[in-house]
């Protein structure tokens, strides 16, 4: 349904020189390719600054891509104008991370939910209210609360309103950008379950961006792991979690603390050295090599000179050999 090929997004940084050239380019997304089937959930994981959100935003045209192609049901959508993009915008919706910042505090829930319908001229004014009530019901909120303002709801309820807004246009694909990371654990589980239930009911596809691997394991069918603007590993959920291939994926998984003291006190951890390098000056060769613990297994200086390409599964010289 969705096919992203070699997507790049570079941001200019610093003052422009005489010829209008910026001093530096920040390579936020650097050659990302993946596809998404109908009804499928693809997880996009990685640490802050690895380009997960930029990938999603570039994909739907919130940022113009530097290069690459994005095909939605076979049609190229990456270089469309605003008005040409409108029909696709209806079919791809987004749920944002922060339920406190993503709802207009001065609009009632009714007007927040009716706005997409108004913009896309999908319902008459009278029908809109009814539709808004149906949406609230679908996400497990009381339809009678339709005239309330966002501040009258708790964080979890607000995130449900965000979900209802994304559902308003009956989209095919919803991009969930860290939809549960701002919520408390007990509430997080409610929203994860809601997303799964809605997927089944409406046949939705999700691109699920998250840094919490345990949540991703629960909700995703396939998972792509990003590091510094590139996908380093992509696999089905079971393959990835049971047998991670890329050293970064392994480290990421081993860093997740288990809520069980027995496991915590005995398991082996891979603790990575140092920080994620700056995407302004990514390391040469494999971008992960300065922090990689398996680097010594590769002969010579290939890791620091030759960039491994993402093959079937993992972008690492070890698994490509």
């Amino acid at each position: 349904m969705l096919e992203v090929t070699d997507l790049h997004k570079h941001f200019p940084i610093g003052k422009k020189g005489l010829l209008g050239k910026p001093a530096k380019w920040l390579h936020a997304v650097d050659g990302v390719s993946f596809s998404l089937e109908k009804g499928e959930t693809l997880g996009l994981v990685g640490e802050s600054g690895c380009g997960k959100s930029t990938t999603a935003r570039t994909m739907i045209g919130l940022y113009p891509p530097t290069s690459g192609s994005v095909k939605f049901e076979g049609e190229e959508i990456s270089h469309l104008s605003r008005s040409e993009r409108a029909p696709f915008r209806r079919r791809i919706q987004m749920i944002f991370q922060d339920p406190y910042a993503s709802l207009d505090p001065r609009q009632t829930v009714a007007s927040i939910l009716a706005e997409p319908l108004k913009i896309h001229r999908l319902a008459k004014p009278r029908e809109r209210k009814l539709r808004a009530m149906q949406l609230l019901d679908a996400v497990g909120l009381n339809p009678r609360h339709i005239h309330r303002f966002p501040h009258e709801f708790s964080g979890g309820q607000r995130q449900r309103i965000g979900v209802a807004r994304a559902l308003a246009l009956e989209p095919d694909l919803i991009i969930c950008d860290e939809p549960v990371s701002a919520l408390d654990v007990s509430i997080q589980a409610q929203v994860v379950n809601l997303l799964e239930e809605l997927q089944e009911r409406f046949g939705l596809s999700y691109l699920f961006i998250a840094h919490d691997l345990a949540v991703v394991r629960h909700i995703c069918d396939r998972v792509a792991v990003m590091y510094l603007g590139k996908i380093v590993e992509i696999a089905t959920r079971d393959e990835l979690f049971e047998n991670p291939q890329h050293p970064y994926t392994k480290a990421l998984m081993s860093a997740v603390p288990h809520p069980d003291p027995k496991i915590e006190r005995t398991r082996e951890r891979i603790v990575l050295e140092g920080d994620v390098p700056s995407p302004l000056e990514p390391p040469t060769g494999c971008r992960f090599h300065p922090r990689c613990v398996e680097r010594h297994k590769v002969e010579g200086d290939r890791c620091s000179t030759v960039e491994p390409q993402l093959g079937e599964r993992s972008a690492c010289h070890l698994s490509l050999d």
């Binding site: 997080q188 691997l213 003291p261």
Partner: protein
């Protein structure tokens, strides 16, 4: 057991606001011993952070009011100390790592200036010595080129680096008690793993007692000896980490543990969740605060408030505040001996 380094009995913190009185902490009692890590878990607004702020004497008064039957550090009553005396304890004997490394450092001062200030206030050292101690402190927390960092400003460091600076600052005076308020929440997991390892190592070398406030049950499981679970300003359960995770007793603790997504177990199983949302502290329901979300609720729960009761176990103390305690007849896990690096009594094999 030795005397506790911190002894808190019936701590109450309330804020008098326009919306009414908010009882942020309502009758919390606990003790902390040398070298021990106490995990404090609960949802946002459950009173975890306010408990820590009260210990540090940092609750703004007014609107806050802090009361306790006892709140002592090494036998000194923290509540009756003058501001001057309190300042000599705060940052020196008891120090705090704040949650957000992005906003807790002053952006206008160099790292060195902010670190040496702590020493200038608490220890009699020359500037040169202070700089050396600070550089060593940064080195201890794994910051490369510590001397150079002293002259840099916070914005020149990454989030993980800044959090390490916060930790170094908290440890500069070798405190006896470290209050860590969500020390890794703002960080990525790989950096979190580094910071947690570091805190463990520093605890081993200095014997620091730590109160670790977090909502991440995984972090608590890996770090804590004992765990206090808070809900709506009250302690609802307290136990050693092993038994608590293995056999949670209070319905809230059970619900909390069940709702955590895990890397083990069946990934297709639906997550258990606790219905509803945490109560408004200014308008708490009568009786047990958790009753509206509780599956075991009886009539008694909505009229009477359960108190924290000691549960009958052989070796460790654990308590839970629930009327169901008496009814639940399952046997509790008494021993902590089969938990990894705990001392294995009597075995010389």
């Amino acid at each position: 057991m030795s005397n506790p380094i911190l002894d808190v009995q019936n701590l109450r913190v309330r804020f008098e606001t326009h919306h009414g009185v908010v009882r942020a902490v309502d009758g919390v009692s606990f003790q902390l011993h040398e070298g021990e890590t106490l995990g404090l878990v609960g949802e946002s607004g459950s009173g975890k952070s306010v408990t820590n702020l009260a210990l540090m004497g940092l609750v703004p008064q007014p609107p806050g009011v802090v009361e306790a039957d006892k709140m002592s550090f090494e036998g000194r009553d923290l509540l009756s100390l003058s501001d001057r005396e309190l300042r000599s304890v705060r940052g020196n004997d008891i120090s705090m790592i704040f949650q957000d490394p992005m906003t807790s450092l002053n952006p206008l001062l160099t790292i060195g200036r902010q670190l040496t200030e702590v020493l200038e206030v608490h220890k009699k050292v020359t500037r040169r010595e202070a700089r050396q101690i600070c550089a060593d402190g940064l080195d201890d927390v794994g910051i490369p080129l510590p001397k150079k960092r002293l002259d840099q400003y916070p914005h020149e460091l990454s989030g993980g680096m800044r959090q390490r600076v916060m930790i170094a600052m908290g440890l500069l005076c070798k405190p006896k008690v470290l209050l860590a308020d969500e020390p890794t929440t703002a960080l990525d997991v790989t950096i979190q793993a580094q910071i947690l390892e570091l805190m463990k190592r520093l605890q081993e070398t200095h014997g620091t007692a730590i109160i670790l406030v977090t909502h991440d049950l995984g972090v608590v499981a890996g770090m804590s000896d004992r765990v206090n679970v808070m809900y709506a300003g009250k302690l609802v359960e307290t136990a050693d980490a092993g038994p608590l995770f293995e056999q949670p007793r209070h319905p809230y603790t059970k619900g909390l543990l069940a709702s955590v997504p895990r890397l083990t177990g069946d990934p297709n199983a639906e997550l258990d969740s606790i219905p509803g949302s945490p109560p408004d502290l200014a308008a708490l329901p009568p009786g047990c605060s958790f009753a509206p979300r509780c599956g075991l609720k009886t009539d008694q729960c909505t009229t009477h408030t359960p108190t924290l009761e000691e549960l009958p176990t052989r070796a460790t103390s654990r308590s839970s505040a629930c009327f169901e305690n008496a009814r639940l007849t399952d046997t509790l896990i008494a021993d902590t001996l089969d938990y990894g690096d705990r001392p294995q009594g009597g075995s010389f094999a």
